[in-house]
């Protein structure tokens, strides 16, 4: 057989991958390197090309152009069954005519690995389903099937484990639990995981590195913290969490920062946190990093201040209140205030100013599609 029984992950490299389907291009010139042993998440909305990327790596589809390397070896021309890769399918795809144990042992048997049954049993024990080994997949719950699918892939000790939104069908509580288990298993076995998901929380929670994909391209890649703190495009700033965006012309520039003019309000962003330093740019801030004040505060140069505006909506979400503030000529701004017993204002219609630290602002490389003084504050968190 083409693959040996390895216990360690290998790195994955995609070089200039392009995938065209009749009528549209699913992936455009994708370059990606995932180091061995990393938990990597491809995050994006449906139709962004993330599942196609995964299928190319698994060998279920062929790229139109480009190379795929695993552990430095070019595997582009090899078939799916020859690749040291296993997939946990979104639909699980457990063989209905086999018992759970036979399902898990399937890959081992194909590679003629010794003692497949006891290895399969051990893998089932790892996902705490050892006692259901003789059942048929149809007799298990969705969460149990998901774990069988995971065991079936893991037992082969693939160099690379592909996860195609495997948690999508689970309810929230079970999903959280599985996320924790999955992460623990990955740390334990030390395999390289490539996880495809549209759930930004899941991606940030589990992955070492997240790549945000949109329309067949990777928009931005990095650690969850970095991506969240410093999104570079409008898409990333909105897909990964929520953002308040302000569009204006750069009117002031000094050694360390630039300032834009948004309907008479000056908004400053550090130069090293802005992608562009000239022309009309979009500057954003996360809702939890913004504050509002009932009286115009006196703040130093280290702060941005806009207002006054009016609170037009308050949403209670448990850990925080979400305020929607309408600022004339600027648009709506969202502010999250934690419920720590002293939330500043609670009534609708209050007149407030919004401020945030300059160091929390970020400048984007592109502009929101509905340019103008209108700002985009709605989040597009797909759940």
């Amino acid at each position: 057989m083409a693959t040996e029984f390895v216990a360690r992950g290998a790195d994955l490299e995609l070089v200039g991958i392009r995938k065209e389907f009749p009528g549209f291009t699913a992936i455009e010139d994708l370059d990606l390197h995932i180091p061995a042993g990393e938990f990597f998440a491809l995050l994006g909305p449906s139709g962004c090309g993330k599942t196609t990327t995964l299928r190319l790596v698994a060998g279920l589809d062929e790229p139109t152009k480009g190379k795929i390397l695993i552990g430095g070896k070019d595997i582009t021309a090899t078939k799916a069954y020859q690749r040291p890769v296993n997939t946990v399918f979104q639909s699980y795809a457990l063989f209905p005519h086999m018992s759970v144990l036979e399902n898990v042992a399937f890959g081992l048997k194909q590679r003629k690995i010794e003692d497949p049954m006891s290895k399969a049993q051990a893998s089932l024990d790892l996902v705490e389903l050892g006692h259901l080994a003789l059942r048929r997949p149809a007799q298990l719950s969705g969460g149990q099937q998901q774990r069988v699918a995971l065991a079936r892939a893991l037992v082969n000790r693939p160099s690379l484990l592909l996860l195609d939104e495997p948690l999508g069908a689970l309810d929230l509580k079970l999903r959280r639990q599985m996320q924790i288990e999955l992460k623990a298993i990955q740390m334990e076995v030390g395999l390289t995981f490539l996880h495809v998901t549209h759930d930004q929380e899941e991606a940030m929670d589990m992955a070492d590195t997240v790549a945000v994909m949109n329309k067949g391209r990777i928009e931005q890649m990095g650690s969850p913290e970095k991506l969240y703190d410093r999104p570079k495009t409008v898409f990333v700033s909105k897909f990964l969490g929520q953002s308040n965006l302000f569009v204006g012309k750069v009117e002031e520039e000094n050694a360390s920062s630039i300032s834009i003019n948004v309907a008479g309000n000056k908004i400053t962003v550090p130069k090293d946190r802005a992608e562009k330093h000239k022309g009309t740019i979009a500057v954003g801030v996360r809702p939890e990093k913004a504050f509002f004040h009932e009286e115009k505060p006196k703040l130093g140069a280290g702060h941005n201040l806009i207002g006054p505006g009016e609170i037009i909506d308050i949403r209670f979400t448990g850990v925080s209140n979400q305020y929607l503030i309408e600022i004339p000529n600027v648009g709506n701004v969202t502010v999250f205030a934690q419920n720590i017993g002293k939330s500043p204002v609670t009534e609708l219609g209050a007149k407030v100013w919004v401020s945030w630290k300059v160091e929390h602002a970020f400048g984007l490389s592109d502009l929101p599609t509905n340019v103008g003084t209108e700002t985009i504050t709605q989040s597009i968190t797909v759940q």
């Binding site: 060998g59 799916a80 399918f89 063989f95 005519h97 399937f106 590679r111």
Partner: protein
């Protein structure tokens, strides 16, 4: 077309009959009544009549044979010893023809049901072609084959000229021709149930197979084939059973000769020509019993219960 009728003869009813609430018992019984009456009048009664006839004794004291009801078990012994070759031939031809039909139909059904999924128009067209022969009488079509392979046809002369057949060898009347006719006539009954099973085959299972290191051949053996067992079982039953009782293809009037006569031919001649009703009935009962036995063993062995 009533495709549903062809699907999963093996045990499709099981699925439907699963959970029945307590209150509906009486209603269900009432609804079943017409069916049960029909079975009693048109199936159970004739069956008893057939068995009774098969045990009749012959009285020739008046000069010509008169049959009286009795318990003449020797009728069975006689037909088995006398028509052993025909009985064997029936099941042997049925086996070969069923296997041939399966071998021809499976790739065809796979193509229509799996490969042609992206082109529904092609799928529809091919299915129509599979059923198209039904629009012409079965007798006519069988007779047409007799013409095509007749002793003067260019096929036979051609085969003789290349030495495949001796100058005095012909096709009509040979076991080959009979099995050919049986296979041809029953292929749609194999293709349709196979198609209905394969049409629902989830491609993702095949992808999972490939992902788990199984080559296309292994994936076929381990995944596709087991998952299409319901279709294979119902297809083979729908062909094997009628073929074992068929008397048209093997008849001398069509593709066969006295050398190829099957159980059905004997039953036909005993019932309709020489009026030996006990003999014909005993043969029919043997045919029925043998089929029942074989089918039961087959369904058990193939283990399709699991899949349904």
């Amino acid at each position: 077309m009533a495709f549903a009728a062809f699907s999963h003869g093996g045990g499709g009813g099981k699925k439907v009959a699963a959970p029945v609430s307590k209150g509906s018992g009486k209603v269900a019984l009432l609804l079943l009544l017409p069916g049960l009456m029909y079975l009693a009048v048109f199936f159970i009664a004739p069956l008893f009549s057939l068995i009774a006839t098969s045990l009749q004794t012959m009285d020739i004291s008046s000069g010509f044979p008169i049959y009286n009801y009795g318990f003449e078990v020797s009728n069975y012994v006689n037909v088995v010893s006398q028509y052993g070759p025909q009985i064997f031939r029936s099941f042997f031809y049925a086996l070969i023809a069923t296997i041939s039909a399966l071998v021809i139909s499976y790739p065809l059904a796979y193509f229509i049901g799996v490969k042609a999924r992206r082109w529904p128009l092609l799928q529809g067209l091919m299915l129509t072609l599979v059923i198209a022969p039904f629009f012409i009488s079965f007798l006519l079509r069988t007779f047409a084959w007799k013409q095509i392979f007749s002793n003067e046809s260019w096929i036979v002369t051609g085969l003789q000229s290349i030495g495949f057949l001796q100058p005095d060898q012909y096709l009509v009347g040979t076991p080959f021709m009979v099995i050919f006719g049986l296979t041809y006539n029953f292929i749609p009954f194999m293709t349709l149930p196979l198609y209905t099973t394969l049409e629902r085959l989830d491609i993702r299972y095949l992808e999972a197979g490939a992902d788990l290191y199984a080559s296309p051949r292994r994936t076929f053996m381990k995944v596709t084939l087991p998952l299409s067992m319901p279709g294979i079982v119902s297809g083979t039953l729908l062909t094997f059973i009628p073929i074992a009782g068929d008397y048209v293809n093997a008849s001398g009037l069509f593709l066969g000769s006295t050398e190829t006569s099957m159980l059905g031919n004997v039953v036909e001649s005993k019932f309709l020509k020489s009026y030996e009703y006990p003999t014909a009935s005993a043969l029919s009962v043997i045919l029925m019993g043998a089929i029942l036995f074989l089918v039961t063993m087959y369904v058990r062995k193939s283990g399709t219960d699991d899949l349904l």
